[in-house]
């Protein structure tokens, strides 16, 4: 069966790989690039544990072929922390106890990063709508919403500091 050469950027790093047509993006990330922060939850397009950003847009990487990401910019949970400093969304999940088992957390955070880039001051309803494709089965959504609100404040503060 045919293979394809794909070139893409993953967390700012240029990558090139030979992939089989049917290889799913999540398998390419986890097994090909050993970026295992992106989780496989339901494997049926329901749970959102595998959410990554494709050119800034949150998508379920279990429902995308690796070859479809050719030429694209991918961001995964591994790209959030920079130089030993947690991203505000990671800090939010830490501070607000936004996780227990942590399985849904990478997907929750990637969806949140995209939300906050588009809407820096989301209402609680907007947050809940944005994460409605990401399922949590243990923590519950109360603290997850608080974590995202924490990150929203922090990101706005960082932005206003940078501007002043």
């Amino acid at each position: 069966m045919a293979t394809h050469t794909i070139k893409l950027t993953v967390n700012g790093e240029a990558r090139e790989a030979q992939v089989e047509s049917r290889l799913l993006l999540v398998h390419f990330l986890r097994e090909g690039l050993r970026l295992t922060g992106t989780h496989i939850g339901c494997d049926t397009t329901h749970c959102g544990a595998c959410t990554v950003l494709l050119d800034g847009v949150p998508v379920k990487s279990c429902t995308l072929l690796a070859v479809q990401a050719d030429g694209c910019k991918l961001e995964t949970v591994e790209g959030l922390e920079q130089g030993g400093k947690l991203h505000p969304i990671q800090e939010g999940f830490w501070e607000q106890h936004g996780l227990q088992c942590g399985y849904c957390t990478p997907g929750m955070m990637m969806t949140s990063v995209a939300l906050l880039a588009r809407n820096p001051s989301p209402s609680e309803a907007e947050i809940r709508e944005a994460i409605s494709g990401n399922l949590c089965r243990c923590t519950g959504y109360v603290n997850i919403v608080k974590a995202i609100q924490y990150a929203a404040v922090k990101l706005r503060e960082e932005k206003s500091h940078a501007a002043s």
């Binding site: 069966m1 045919a2 394809h4 089989e20 047509s21 049917r22 799913l24 398998h27 494997d43 049926t44 397009t45 329901h46 959102g48 959410t51 847009v57 949150p58 998508v59 379920k60 279990c62 429902t63 995308l64 072929l65 070859v67 479809q68 050719d70 969806t111 709508e129 944005a130 409605s132 494709g133 990401n134």
Partner: protein, 290 residues
């Protein structure tokens, strides 16, 4: 889950895509957003030797109203429909529909054309397009043909599209003044298929009469259910709650839902009746009739 092996093609132009479909015929499947096709291939409920991804063909994503027609490019993402100001203000039924398809992450990839071409009676756009009286444009090797939506859904996962055709555009007649529409869906949770859902699109005439009524149901039979016949007695008459309830009852009577974990046949039919009635009321309210 891993799909069975296939060859992947990413044509850069529509003619290239059509040439691939002509060459591979029945063994090829068109992939638009892939949000229905890939799960099907992963579960191995479906197989394709060749996947023709139309994702890199320019000019297939647009929403524009011109010459009294709303044109939606076949590969327009549900998220784009959801965010469009034109859709929100002029076509609330389409906004309602886009908002309840799967979940926001899926809607970032899923496309309007794909939702129709998949031919799944559980999908949400088919009923809405029936209520709106839409047309779809199928582009094949010999050019374009226009298919009225009520001739499009032939059976379970079967549409009027030939294996060498691609759904490139959806055309919807622009609603005259005093029109309104609504899509009302009952789902167990976000991302679920409808237990039942109803689409209604109305235009009011002078003196509060109903000039046009489109009504259709989701997931209550092998194809989306066009309830035009049930709604027909409303046309030319004044808006009347008893007549609306009767139309909803007749629409639901024609439904043949299968029992499953979402409910029994009787329950689903009853929900279809309630939802059809609500959709009609909401459509009339949006048309300025209540």
């Amino acid at each position: 889950m891993i799909p069975a092996a296939f060859d992947y093609h990413a044509p850069a132009t529509l003619p290239e895509a059509l040439a691939l479909l002509t060459r591979y015929g029945d063994s090829a499947k068109v992939m638009s957003g892939g949000q229905s096709l890939l799960p099907l291939l992963k579960l191995r409920l479906g197989q394709a030797e060749h996947v023709v991804d139309i994702g890199r063909i320019p000019g297939l994503e647009y929403i524009r109203e011109e010459g009294g027609v709303l044109r939606i490019g076949g590969r327009t993402r549900e998220a784009a429909l959801e965010e469009s100001e034109l859709i929100r203000t002029r076509y609330p039924i389409l906004h309602d529909t886009a908002k309840v398809i799967a979940d926001p992450l899926v809607r970032n990839r899923a496309t309007v054309g794909g939702n129709l071409a998949h031919g799944d009676p559980a999908n949400d756009h088919p009923a809405t397009m029936l209520a709106l009286g839409a047309q779809v444009v199928a582009t094949g090797p010999k050019g374009e043909r226009v298919i009225p939506i009520d001739k499009f859904f032939l059976g379970l996962f079967t549409t009027a599209l030939a294996p060498d055709e691609i759904l490139t555009e959806i055309r919807i007649p622009a609603p005259p003044p005093r029109s309104g529409g609504a899509y009302v869906k009952l789902e167990r949770k976000v991302g679920d298929y409808a237990t039942a859902a109803a689409a209604a699109q109305v235009t009011l005439g002078a003196g509060g009469t109903l000039e046009r009524v489109g009504l259709a149901l989701t997931n209550v039979g092998p194809t989306p259910l066009d309830a035009a016949a049930a709604a027909q007695p409303l046309v030319g008459k004044k808006v009347d709650a008893a007549a609306l309830a009767e139309a909803a009852r007749r629409a639901a009577q024609a439904a043949t839902p299968n029992p499953d974990r979402r409910g029994s046949t009787e329950y689903k039919r009853e929900m279809a009746r309630v939802l059809a009635n609500r959709a009609l009321h909401k459509a009339i309210e949006r048309a300025g009739g209540h």
